[in-house]
């Protein structure tokens, strides 16, 4: 399992892995917002957490469709499915999701404080947003695995994966943003939405890989 994690991590980071593409996309989305909404610093600070979250959500959907597609094309997926008795397929999927998250999504979380400066956010707000991203984005990867597994046989499944995944990712977005708001705006609480966000991630940690494994097994042809 460790071997699979390291292999996927290497593939994600090496040439053609596209880990940096996500960061660039994230940067592009966040950097154009101040031009679009105008130089109102208070407004930017207010919508900052939401923009960071939306940018990170969209950027982490990029490349998600390739989660199983490369493996399917070169025959690796068959062997992963056949190894079921040694490595439960849901666990294999979980490890692949974690490797994907570390290679493609963790850089977004690391870049988010810098992009928070673009949005004139105060330090506490930046810290809260980064923390909610750190806790919330794994859920998006686990939900995305289900979409990627369903669309694995489709040659242009990218958009379909995003459409399948987005409705399920909305709760993650809502609680992520409201926790980040809660940290800076006084009457709003931070902890309750943050804990719900943690719960969502743990919920999808179990459900996502199980559902994706079932979809992969049913889709083998």
């Amino acid at each position: 399992m460790l071997a699979l994690f390291l292999r996927d991590l290497r593939l994600g980071i090496r040439a053609g892995g596209g880990a940096l593409v996500g960061v660039l996309f994230f940067l592009a989305v966040v950097a154009v917002v101040p031009f679009g909404v105008g130089p109102d610093l208070n407004l930017l600070a207010r919508i900052g957490p939401a923009i960071l979250w939306i940018g990170a959500l969209l950027a982490s959907l990029l490349g998600l469709d390739r989660l199983f597609q490369d493996d399917r094309e070169d025959g690796t997926l068959d062997l992963l499915i056949l190894s079921e008795s040694r490595h439960m397929l849901a666990l294999t999927v979980l490890v692949k999701c974690l490797a994907h998250w570390v290679a493609a999504v963790l850089p977004l979380v690391i870049a988010s404080p810098l992009l928070g400066l673009f949005m004139n956010m105060e330090p506490l707000g930046i810290a809260a947003t980064s923390l909610t991203l750190l806790v919330g984005t794994p859920a998006i990867a686990f939900i995305g695995a289900v979409g990627a597994a369903v669309a694995v046989a489709l040659p242009r499944g990218g958009l379909l994966v995003s459409v399948l995944v987005l409705p399920l990712a909305i709760p993650v977005l809502i609680f992520g943003v409201s926790a980040a708001y809660g940290a800076v705006n006084d009457p709003n609480p931070f902890l309750p939405p943050f804990l719900i966000l943690c719960a969502l991630t743990m919920f999808f940690l179990v459900l996502g890989p199980l559902a994706a494994a079932m979809a992969l097994k049913a889709g083998a042809d």
Binding site: L2, A3, L4, L6, R7, R10, L11, R14, A15, G16, G17, D70, E73, D74, G75, T76, D78, L79, I81, L82, S83, E84, S85, R86, H87, A220, D221
Partner: protein, 203 residues
Amino acid sequence: MRLIAEKLGGERGGEPVFDDINFQVEPGEGLIVTGANGSGKSTLLRIVAGLLPASSGAIRFEAADAEEFPSVAAASHYLGHGNAMKTALSVEENLKFWQEFHGSTHLGIDEAIEMVGLPEVASLPYGYLSTGQKRRISIAKLLVSYRPIWLLDEPTAGLDKASETQFAALMRAHLDDGGIIVAATHIPLGLEGVQHLTMTGQR
């Protein structure tokens, strides 16, 4: 250990491809499946491996050691059309990954690469190799971890004459070791004393 197919039927996309296939393979025996394109050779192998459900009949597997090899899938190496190797990783990294993932270490990485006659490419990225070399490294994957059953789908596709002979020797050694080989091919594999099954298809 014994691999038995009883009145096996298979379908592809809802269309029946073959039915009433029977065979029984004992340790040390090989089964060569031949037939025209589209007669269901690959489908048969995928059903035997458990990647596709059989539309009728059943595959039975009697393992000597049911603990270690509870199913055909667990006891098999499946060499399909794809080589299951990543072009961005080196040959060594690819083989090392499969050895660790599959477990039951058999030959060392270097030894396996030596067996397929490509010691000079070990540190090259897999993507740099020619089609035949890629196939040979994929064959080396069968050697790095032990499985009693080899399910081979067109194993010699892309191989030159010398490599075919070399591969025939590897298969012979596996059979002499008490293994089982089920291979689908339309090129003679140069394997003596094995069973033959000709797929005629439904039409």
